[in-house]
Amino acid sequence: MREELLEQARTAVDMAKQAGADDAVVGVSRGRSIDFAWREGKLEKVQEDTSRGLGLNLYVDGRFSRHSTNDLDPDRLRPFIAEAVALTRLLEVDPFRKITDPKLYEGRQDIDLDLVDASLVNLTREVRTQWCQELADAASAHDDVISATSGVANAHGVSARVSSNGFEGASEGSSVWYGSEVTVSDGPTKRPEAWWWVGGSHLEGLPSPKETGAEALRRVLARRGATKAPSSKTTMVVDPEAGASLMGRIFGAMSAGAIQQKRSYLADQLGKSITSDVLTLTDDPFRPRMGASRLWDGEGIATKKRTVIEGGVLKTFYVDTYYGRKLGWEPTTGSPSNIVFEGGKGDLASMLGDVGEGLYVNSWLGGNANMTTGDFSFGLRGHVIRDGALAEPISEMNVTGNYAELLQKLVRVGDDPVPWSTFRTPTLVFEGIQFSGA
């Protein structure tokens, strides 16, 4: 399969060259996925997909464009590519746009990332149905459950990338996810919901469907009776999942594109302290079995393990070749892979004990951040922390501030990331955070 896709990509590169392109990069992919959804004791939805696609980057007379199609019939692909080349000629010359320097392809690691779980091939309809039932039984095991929808989804994909200046690579990956979404009654009108899904490239090591359904139920029951706490400035404990979306935002401000376009509050912060000294982050593309692992990035650059933040100091930016050239910076890689929080200690229970009083956030509701200035404001749900333990649930509250200040208020980093997560945030503790409520 890999060789077949590589050959398809090579053919398309040739078509582009024949149509007059100076350079071309082609990606070809094929995928298959199966989704089961289960509700009220029966299958609610079964969906089976087989998909394919071809993406093409063209460099023509100093001009650049990007194209995609799912119609790979050679009789239609050839004119599609010819038309794409003609379109590119109508654009303006961009002196910064060049195909990736082949030197950056060098040094590709020869590591087996182990991204395919062969056992998933044998996932029969019966097994999927049984998992759905086990999820549903555990998720519905309470009288106040109004609705529980459970699901099992798995996919397998192969992709190949070929460039006209010597890059070739093919990769393959599998994934499996399952979980439940549960709604319960809460007083006369409120019907809080919560979900819990687990998954990754391999089945091995995931909690069982029964445990997963039970966790979804536990999460929604904990939300009942939520109220708005008073506005206050207090300690904020953020759970690993909520922490991933909170911390993930700063990576947008680390991209060369954001910096060159004046959309990053971190633009002049390389080598400076951007968080308190408890934070050290590594970008590790080589972790086996993690979906974000890779040997080359989206431009074909051979990947490396990098320290992103060390003791609070920003050590690198995400620099692709285009914005690197605009800024006069050496390219690193355009986007993050697996992000590892190093050197943390403790889990939620131990941290709550140490914190004593404050607010615990386990999910965000809307909100946004302006990464030009670092200003943010997010809706949240969670619990009051009292006497070192979780107390009543809270909702309809906002947390508001600025990332530059927030990250300096980070005082504790745990060592309890969600095992299958690629952005591996553990429990985090921030001091003196502004909450808006009643």
Binding site: K45, S68, L91, I146, S147, R191, S232, K262, S395, G401
Partner: protein, 476 residues
């Protein structure tokens, strides 16, 4: 008399006999209903950055989605190959949802249907070359630079698409639609004393190229500049519960989140919406009438037919404060024993349809804007937005204010920025106290996400006062 040809039959390389065969195969294991959704989409984009049009893209996407329905159960598969064997294979896969053979429902004779005409444009986007689009971007940059010569960065982005859709159903309908879409977007970065601020504006709809007049471009550019430059003066509002004046236009995001999603019938059929038991109840003051309509010509949410081939309509969700009608697709309409409201939508042939909003807005009331502002002692005006979300069951909704104003003693006193607003749907509806007579639909390009599917929508609002929402601010 039914016609046996259709322009789109040639386009997709099918004929009536093939459609009937595939529908028969889909019903082969016993099912209530099956439909085929053929889609061919051509789209393109252009970006002007640092003074040159440095990026372009084009895409072709085509395929057929085959759906088999048994009660409220759905089997779905799609094929990117449109030959008969590939389609039959996908039909067999979708048919596996029917495990027990029920009474056989044979496919009915196909009859072509007509529909409304809400977005005919002089020239389809497929026929407009890149050379004609480039000046729009260059002109936009020139306008914005003329308004504010000192800007650090100006980015102009363009996107258009031309979709052909052909739907054939086992109850005998064949119906087609051609759907144009376009959008122009301008974003700027400005700096002042070392501080940088960014802002943007955009215009969008199912419009042709002639709609993008110089005047419209200039208005958009002025908005982008004004929204950005005001940020240098803007501060964060006070934290806590405050009266919120929703400005006419984009504030419809409140209706979309606080009301619209909860009125989508799939959530109510499953009992997961806070509005599940509220039809016929008074949920808001009499001045509140909320509508979701597909019939506003050229809006992003305009639809001649929905993605199940049903006729579309103007659906009244809340009439003079009383909750009236959910938004239905075929499955929910059957469940509730009502007609579909033409709200079954999907992102593409790769997705199953479900009840979705189209163009959601509140009808005008009797007050005027100044009167509303004057009535507020301490509060905020919400003007532009970048994000919204809702918890369907708990009813909590949020929207993020990018630009707004502080009101002190009945007067607008200072600009505010970057704060999230959170409230509870039913509580916020009851807390609406004044509605102005200035309803307008927002011309910006809104996209709604639900269960992983994105569809274009529109929204609108008159100026409205909500007595109390939680404002994400500072210094409690």
């Amino acid at each position: 008399m039914a016609s046996t040809t259709h322009p789109y039959y040639d386009w997709f390389g099918v004929d009536e006999a093939m459609l009937s065969k595939v529908l028969s195969e889909a019903l082969g294991r016993g099912a209530d209903y099956a439909d085929l959704y053929f889609e061919h989409s051509r789209s393109g984009s252009l970006t002007l950055e640092d003074g040159i049009i440095s990026r372009a893209s084009s895409a072709v996407d085509r395929g057929v989605g085959i759906r088999v329905v048994v009660g409220d159960q759905t089997g779905y598969a799609y094929s990117e190959d449109l030959d008969l064997p590939s389609m039959l294979k996908a039909a067999r896969t979708a048919a596996t949802i029917a495990q027990v053979s029920t009474d056989e429902v044979p496919p009915q004779t196909l009859t072509q249907r007509g529909h409304a005409d809400l977005y005919s444009i002089d020239r389809n986007w497929e026929d407009v070359g890149v050379a004609e689009k480039l000046p729009l971007l260059q002109q936009t940059e020139a306008f914005v630079r003329a308004i504010e010569p000192g800007l650090e960065k100006v980015t102009v982005a363009w996107a258009d698409s031309d979709d052909r859709v052909l739907i054939a159903t086992s109850d005998g309908r064949v119906i087609a639609d051609r759907r144009p879409m376009s959008r122009l977007w301008c974003s700027v970065a400005a700096s002042k004393d070392g501080e940088v601020q960014t802002g943007s504006s955009n215009v969008a709809g199912r419009h042709g190229i002639d709609w993008y007049t110089d005047e419209r471009l200039k208005t958009m550019c002025q908005e982008a500049v004004d929204r950005t430059m005001i940020l240098f003066e803007a501060r964060r509002p006070p934290a806590g519960e405050l009266p919120v004046v929703l400005d006419a236009g984009a504030s419809g995001i409140l209706l979309h989140e606080a009301v619209g999603h909860g009125m989508e019938a799939d959530f109510n059929r499953k009992g997961t919406s806070i509005y599940s038991t509220m039809i016929g109840e008074t949920v808001a003051p009499e001045c509140v009438t909320i509508v979701d309509s597909a019939l506003h010509p050229f809006e992003r949410g305009a639809l001649n037919i929905d993605d199940e081939g049903n006729p579309t309509e103007r659906t009244v969700l809340v009439e003079n404060g009383v909750m009236r009608t959910y938004l239905h697709d075929r499955i929910s309409a059957k469940h509730y024993g009502v007609e579909s409201t033409g709200s079954g939508r999907r992102e593409s042939f790769r997705h199953v349809p479900m009840p979705r909003m189209r163009c959601t807005y509140m009808e005008s009331g009797e007050h005027d804007r100044d009167e509303i502002i004057e009535s507020v002692k301490l509060g905020i005006v919400a003007e532009t937005f970048t994000n919204g979300q809702v918890q369907i069951g708990a009813g909590d909704f949020t929207f993020y204010i990018k630009n707004g104003w502080l009101i002190e003693d009945g007067k607008v006193t200072a600009p505010i920025k970057d704060c999230n607003i959170i409230g509870n749907g039913p509580a916020a509806l009851k807390d609406i106290s004044m509605v102005a007579s200035d309803m307008k639909l927002d011309t910006g390009g809104w996209t709604c996400g639900k269960e992983g599917q994105r569809v274009p929508v529109s929204q609108g609002m008159p100026t409205v006062l909500v007595n109390k929402l939680t404002v994400g601010g500072v210094d409690a």
